[in-house]
Subunit: 457 residues, 3 copies
């Protein structure tokens, strides 16, 4: 009976939310959203051969990499659970997609609203994808314990807070954070962790047997890892200044990732009982090098700085998975399904602090003319390097406040009863949200697997 | 005995076809195909810094995305069947590859034949990939019911008809169809559906148990979906005008896809008995937004127009899977394995009609100087917007005629007895075309494979 | 007891190697590695709109494709083994990552060392990825029979020899080999094969049952194949001259791959007993077209030349898998797990010879001004075409010497006892290096998993 009621609920809640949200964003698109200069047939002046006009072409490949990271990378990284693959990749698809539309509007009002209209172009798409990245990081914390309707509401709230926090940091405080160590990773991780804290389930061991992976689900997850790893240089460099800015950012990120991968392998073997590697570490901690240089990779971090930062991040992240995640659940009542605290939380904070240090070390001598693009306020004499460093630090605290208060509010919001949260015993299970193949006709399926049907006859 | 005969046949038919086709195209390449100006060492004048010379670099990333969509996207989208993964991805590989060579020749004769030679460059590769896309759409309709030799013959015929139809529309009628709502999706879908009609199998339920998916095959298929989804902006924009044209096309496609995804999730939950989502809908209908703006995404569709179109396409496509596909088989005797009618057929026709409307609304005011690149015949005063709209509509009918007549002819061609069509009871089964691992030593393999352990108890 | 000792060993060897190697490279990075002009904020002069300044943007998309090929392509291509997926993709990740750092240093000392520093930029990343490609080819020969510590030592040695060989060929001998038929494929293959010869295991049939694939592992491997296939045009063109050079290289590679795919399908069906296709051939031999034009695709090979070369390579490669690989093991005692001799060895040598012929045919008439970028020494009158051809041939022999001597030395190095090589009965098995899911709680997992065969005995 309650199950039937649940079904009736679910049957209406998810479609209604999708339709209402889509209807609302479509309406807002109709009223407010217009092509910007570069996408409007009447306003564009192509052909004067300047690099400014070529900017679309210089940024488009990075955009496509970011787009691939969000949907392929994050989506498949979460497929590691044995019976939650449909939900991991499917809800990623749903939630990220809604976020793209909603972030276009929210960020558009904050950044490109003039003449009564939001003007969209490639930058809107890149920024919306970044926001979707943050939402998916939060999803990682609550993976398996929240239904799609809850996730849509989470995205609705988080997109607003993400965009406001980002606006405060980048536009009001003049903080530099191109690759989003603060605005994306720290924000997304702590938003998700606080949300998970509010939604704490004391009886989650009821579905414990589904919390582990199986062989092929780990391989799918590794697909996600590799995609994130190869495209992360584009992620961090997508919004940086053209020329040396993007080039240097990609280079720093590349080397940081190599170091976090090596330290992850070293630490994973070292902390295990018998020297064997743990796939969870490899899938996740190896990526911490991308997170930790999110703020500083556009700066003159130096290749050695990138390697050192990546090494530290991989180490901290692997140790976090091994020693801190269990404490987080037992002592702090935070259940972190994907370990986003280890991959995004701690490396994000480390990345913010690294940005503080590197900004503090900035000089006219080291940056030359490039100071104008990396630290415009220092170049224009409005700030000293020390002052910029203080602002960077302050930006991190603002982010932590937004994330923690926002995540807590989000948790309360997601407790609304009509949102149809999965019962403790049905967490990490696709069947309550998806028609899983072979379910009804398990008997009929048997002969089709591994062996020849004719041999039965 | 007939099985042995079949083997002997197969052993010769497929290799002979491959060798004959490859020999013929190689000969034609030798006689006719030459580098074009931009790929010839002696003719290229690099370094005068004009955007015209940079065109290769502006288009190459889009080309790679299209190439990835054709081979990764279409290939893996069809892996959903439980025992047909090798064939889905393998025959995609074979057929698309042959099409690339053959389309280079056919399209070269139509488009870039002068001085007795076909001149090839990046455009040839993009256009050949588009043609391969259409052939793979048709393959989706007959997936599991046709052997590789049949598919090669299908590609031989379809490539010619695709290229002629495209030439008539784009070059003779002045129809605009950059992303191919008509030339690729409508053509490919109805060609495949008519072909499937001719090849109708009344006894197909004999292999019904293999027509469903299994858990991991659905995850592989979802890989295909996500790749198609993320790269579709490049697909539609690959052949459009540089500058605002490509930028706007990518933007419209991106937003249309977000809307079709949201409507697909809404409708999938709504039409199911118990509110659960159907993976088939998510894998396919979510992509309908890319199809529906194929014609109009280069036009001044507006972001709202893109969202509205995508929403409609996702809705129609999902409803098609739920309600129309069974009717298509029972009443019209069309067996559509992948539901290409829902993903490419109906959204393609909708996209053609949307192009009619948006062309009809075109004004000098809205397009400004851009009118020359989007609607050159209107800009040059040779046509009114209304007249262009009528041509667009006419183009759709021409496409439907080419597809239906061509598909029917193709069906007759594929009935040639020596082509070794799979028997009804062996459809959707890899083993008749592939050495499937573990087959010979089923006994040794069994303990390692996926079979149900309960049978041991 | 020995098993426990093995564990204790392993627990220390791999982490220690990772930490020592990372510590050493980090130190060398600190002392020697600096940003080059294009990545340094103070040295870059962006905005004068010349194509030289845009070079980063013209090469970045190709770089990302190469990066994807190395990690996704090679990584997943080796996942075909039923119980070695974690190791295939994980050790690829580890070894390639270490190689990227180490190659930056070694190649930097050889190519961009001035003023006491190595200057790194995008070229460094591309060249390091190429070196990682060669190391992964060698890995393919010894896949399943070597532990991660052994592989790290192999990469340490091979990177040095690869870079020295490449330096001799390209910089000292003036050999042309953009896509690396010699420097990458021939070198990587024969290095791995000689190494495998030294490590010959006469008792390898003890783990024979794990040397085969299972259904889904073959699909994962096919993902790797398709990624390699679609991005190979970028691989060969990544280091060639801007403009017509890159354009022509991509075009030639594309057509060569189509032909090798068709000949692979033809031959695979032809040589099998019953006309059925062998997934091993499709996964590998279809790619031989990319290898065979590695040297000549930047030259005026002609589209027909590309098709003919690809056809030949696919044929030779497929025949190699069918007839030569068994002989290689039985007569020459070379156990070649992935058949790299067929995919990289023979096609690499063929590609080198093709380069000899095409260089020999070079004329001022055919190349025009482009002769300066393709054959600068001929253009400057320092060499005749015949002389260039002789140098090309000599380059191949140099490569074979470096590979065979280096691989043999490598084999001796890898026999060092503390490197913890897997026992004959545990080859091709993830469990000795990885915590494989469900292992500890086999009872609870059984219904979902593939269980251990030994428990049946």
């Amino acid at each position: 009976m309650p199950r039937a009621a649940g079904h009736r609920h679910r049957r209406l809640v998810l479609p209604l939310l999708c339709l209402i949200f889509q209807g609302a964003t479509a309406l807002l698109f109709a009223v407010f959203v217009r092509y910007n200069r570069e996408t409007d047939a009447a306003l564009w002046h192509w052909g004067n051969h300047s690099n400014v006009d070529n900017e679309f072409y210089f940024r488009y490949p990075s955009f496509q990499d970011v787009h691939a990271m969000v949907f392929v990378g994050f989506g498949f990284l979460m497929v590691f659970l044995q019976r939650y693959g449909f939900s991991s990749v499917g809800f990623t698809f749903l939630v990220a997609t809604f976020t793209l539309q909603w972030a276009t509007l929210v960020q558009g009002f904050l950044h490109s609203f003039h003449g009564g209209h939001i003007h969209v172009g490639l930058d809107s798409l890149i920024n919306a994808d970044f926001c979707a990245g943050a939402v998916l990081i939060s999803f990682g914390a609550v993976l398996g314990k929240t239904g799609p309707a809850q996730l849509l509401l989470m995205a609705l709230l988080e997109t607003v807070l993400f965009s406001v926090n980002e606006f405060i940091l980048l536009s009001l405080l003049g903080v530099r954070d191109a690759g989003g160590s603060m605005t994306i990773h720290t924000f997304g991780a702590y938003f998700g962790l606080f949300l998970s804290r509010v939604l704490y389930r004391s009886q989650l061991e009821k579905s414990k047997q589904r919390q582990s992976s199986v062989y092929h689900s780990d391989l799918f997850a590794m697909t996600g890892t590799i995609f994130l790893w190869i495209f992360w240089p584009s992620f961090n460099s997508a919004p940086t200044a053209l020329g040396d800015g993007q080039h240097r950012t990609a280079l720093n990120t590349y080397y940081s990732l190599t170091a976090s991968t090596l330290s992850t392998f070293a630490l994973s073997a070292l902390v295990s009982g018998d020297g064997r590697l743990d796939m969870v570490h490899i899938q996740n901690a190896a990526l911490a090098g991308g997170v930790v240089v999110g703020t500083s990779s556009e700066m003159m971090l130096t290749p050695f700085g990138a390697v050192a930062a990546g090494f530290l991040a991989g180490t901290v992240s692997t140790l976090g998975y091994k020693f801190f995640t269990p404490v987080l659940e037992s002592r702090f009542k935070v259940q972190d399904t994907c370990g986003v605290h280890n991959l995004h939380g701690m490396p994000g904070v480390l990345g913010a602090l690294l940005g503080v240090v590197v900004a503090w070390l900035a000089t006219h001598e080291v940056y030359g003319d490039g100071l104008q693009t990396v630290f415009p306020l220092i170049a224009q004499g409005q700030r000293s390097a020390t002052s910029q460093a203080v602002y960077q630090l302050f930006g991190m605290f603002v982010t932590l406040v937004f994330a923690s208060v926002g995540g807590s509010l989000g948790g309360l919001l997601l407790k609304l009863p009509f949102l149809d949260s999965p019962p403790d015993s049905q967490c990490f299970e696709d069947q309550i949200y998806w028609e899983v193949p072979g379910e009804q006709e398990a008997e009929a399926q048997r002969p089709l697997r591994a062996e020849e049907p004719d041999t039965q006859a």
